[in-house]
């Protein structure tokens, strides 16, 4: 299985590291102690139990695109703190601290790349940046990625990893759901394929907009996918949630996901689907 052998890192605004530091990592799935270097080679999937660790956009860029083909665009759009928002600390400080801590500029990276030679436009969210929350910048960058796919007539991939809309930008965050959905409606009029890739977690406003509007919905195994968070639902109904509730397998069984695909197979399966859409049937 050396087709998923780790390739050389390419330069993006994504930072170079994720997952806890240290030489050894304990698997959240089976408790096995895994050598970190080994886990890295496997794109952070446990070789014992197939548990998919949460990873950053850098790992997905590496995993999904042909070597050296991913070119980031609109990297330098940043939040303007439109509400001058402060809770226990100011949004401005929190934002800057997050940039410093993660090395990321926002909760999404957008760009163009090739998947098994098929050119695509992609937006990859990153949970490390304020829980992958969607504010004005995430909405705008994803919106522009959709515009780019529309202009270039190239397939669109959006990888979601998000707790939902960003409260620190109030109603402006909410309106990003409408903005991205409206742009996807325009993309659909041009019959351009859009693949929504849902990773752990995809909840709230992200699910209630672009994540649920793909031509094909693909999730990694065991990802939390839903509208309301499990804690809120538990409080509302006053009882424990059934095992597996809101996990990929549950969401697929209720009819909202097309496929659950192992991380190692994502690139091949997605590019096969894109090749299918691209193919023109003979006239006779």
């Amino acid at each position: 299985m050396d087709w998923f052998k780790r390739k050389k890192k390419i330069s993006t605004s994504a930072p170079k590291k994720d997952v806890p530091d240290g030489l050894w990592v304990k698997c959240d799935g089976c408790g096995t102690i895994i050598y970190k270097k080994e886990l890295e080679k496997k794109y952070y999937v446990c070789s014992q139990c197939d548990h998919h660790f949460r990873v950053g956009s850098d790992v997905y860029i590496d995993l999904l695109f042909d070597e050296g083909t991913f070119k980031e665009f609109n990297a330098d759009i940043a939040s303007d703190d439109p509400l001058d928002f402060t809770d226990v600390k100011s949004y401005r400080d929190k934002y800057q601290a997050t940039v410093k801590k993660t090395g990321l500029k926002e909760a999404v990276i957008t760009g163009t790349g090739k998947m098994n030679k098929i050119p695509v436009v992609a937006a990859l969210m990153d949970f490390r940046f304020m829980g992958g929350s969607m504010g004005s910048v995430v909405g705008e960058k994803i919106g522009r990625a959709i515009d780019m796919a529309w202009k270039k007539k190239q397939p669109l991939i959006i990888l979601s990893a998000s707790g939902g809309a960003r409260m620190h930008e109030g109603v402006l965050s909410l309106m990003q759901l409408a903005k991205t959905s409206a742009k996807l409606a325009r993309l659909a009029e041009r019959n351009i394929p859009y693949i929504s890739l849902l990773t752990n977690p995809t909840t709230g406003g992200t699910t209630a907009s672009y994540a649920m509007l793909g031509d094909v919905h693909i999730a990694e195994p065991g990802a939390l996918i839903g509208f309301a968070g499990p804690r809120v639902i538990k409080q509302t109904i006053g009882q424990d949630l059934p095992p597996g509730f809101q996990r990929s397998e549950f969401v697929r069984d209720h009819g909202f996901l097309d496929l659950i695909v192992h991380r190692h197979e994502l690139k091949q399966r997605i590019s096969d689907i894109l090749a299918f859409f691209k193919h023109k049937n003979p006239a006779k």
């Binding site: 109030g170 109603v171 709230g204 509208f227 639902i233 509302t236 109904i237």
Partner: protein, 324 residues
């Protein structure tokens, strides 16, 4: 409207209410004893009027949230009853169920035939349970979508009335795709070839509100609130204390005036003094006037132009800085 005559007094209204009670007592005393207190009564009435004006023109965001949630506040059906000459409610999503938290139907408004869709709260325990406290399930959004499509087919403008504490966060709602139902509505509303006017009449909580709220014009009642999450929800997460809701309401800037500043809302609809519940007829009249004004403008546009302008409207929303 409710037939219940019990007066509900909010905390910040107490000083005025006390004065009003005193005036009432004095009147009763005059009647009983024949003693002339008219000078004193007049003086107190003037004072009450002044106090009312002072209180209601300086409401904090949290106080407005309380007015938006006032138990006597007019709800969707109260407005529909007053602004339409004809209303035939239609039921069901034709897929799974009827959702009583969303009402939808055919209506005549001024000289227009339109469809109206609104979230509907209950007024007492029984009707609140029936209406699920105005919290729709996926079926509500899918019923709305069915009516949007009906409107498109027969070239009728769409009016939506927003008043919800949120989409219902329940087990069944998740199983039946609450997120997908909302997302689908955003997508389809964005390209609906007829005018859409949205009025936030009470509470506008998050995706549950937006799920019927994508339009060519977004109007908002003076004392309504609209944001990405309820003040309580925001406080519980960021302050780890739901009791900090007043601070969260301030920080998130949730009022109609705020949303005009943020370039989300096109027009604020003034309410009678003290809130829409003090004079539902006047409030409904103002809503009707605003809808008709905007409808007149939108009816002139071709479907292509409408959709193009709608896309541009939403593309502008948000605030960011761009280097280089």
């Amino acid at each position: 409207m409710a037939t219940d005559k019990k007066v509900v007094v909010l905390e910040f209204e107490k000083p005025v209410h006390e004065l009003e009670e005193k005036i009432k007592e004095m009147r009763a005393y005059t009647e009983k004893t024949g003693m002339d207190l008219s000078e004193d009564i007049k003086r107190l009435e003037e004072k009450a009027a002044e106090l009312r004006k002072e209180i209601y023109s300086n409401l904090s965001r949290w106080q407005r949230v309380q007015l938006a949630r006032h138990p006597k506040r007019p709800y969707s059906l109260d407005y529909i009853e007053r602004i339409t000459g004809y209303f035939e409610e239609l039921h069901g999503d034709r897929r799974f169920a009827e959702d009583h938290a969303i009402v939808a139907g055919l209506a005549r408004l001024d000289k227009y035939t339109v469809v109206i869709i609104g979230q509907q709260k209950g007024r007492d325990t029984k009707s609140n349970i029936y209406r699920n406290f105005g919290m729709p399930n996926p079926e509500g959004y899918r019923k709305a979508l069915r009516i949007f499509e009906l409107a498109a087919k027969f070239n009728k403008p769409v009016i939506t009335l927003i008043d919800t504490p949120g989409a219902y966060p329940g087990l069944g709602a998740e199983e039946r795709g609450q997120a997908e139902a909302i997302a689908r509505n955003l997508f389809e509303m964005a390209r609906l070839p007829v005018p859409i006017i949205t009025v936030v009449i009470g509470e506008g909580a998050s995706g549950g509100a937006l799920g019927i709220g994508v339009g060519d014009r977004i109007l908002m009642m003076e004392n309504a609130w609209y944001s990405v999450i309820s003040p309580e929800g925001c406080a519980a997460i960021l302050w780890r204390d739901a009791a900090k809701a007043p601070q969260a309401a301030e920080a998130m800037k949730v009022t109609a005036a705020d949303l005009v500043d943020l370039e989300i809302v096109d027009e604020v609809i003034r309410e009678p003094e003290g809130g829409a519940h003090n004079d539902a007829d006047a409030a409904a009249d103002a809503v009707k006037k605003a809808i008709v004004t905007h409808l007149k403008e939108l009816m002139k546009l071709s479907p292509e132009k409408l959709i193009e302008q709608r896309l541009e409207k939403y593309a502008r929303m948000g605030a960011w800085v761009e280097k280089g």
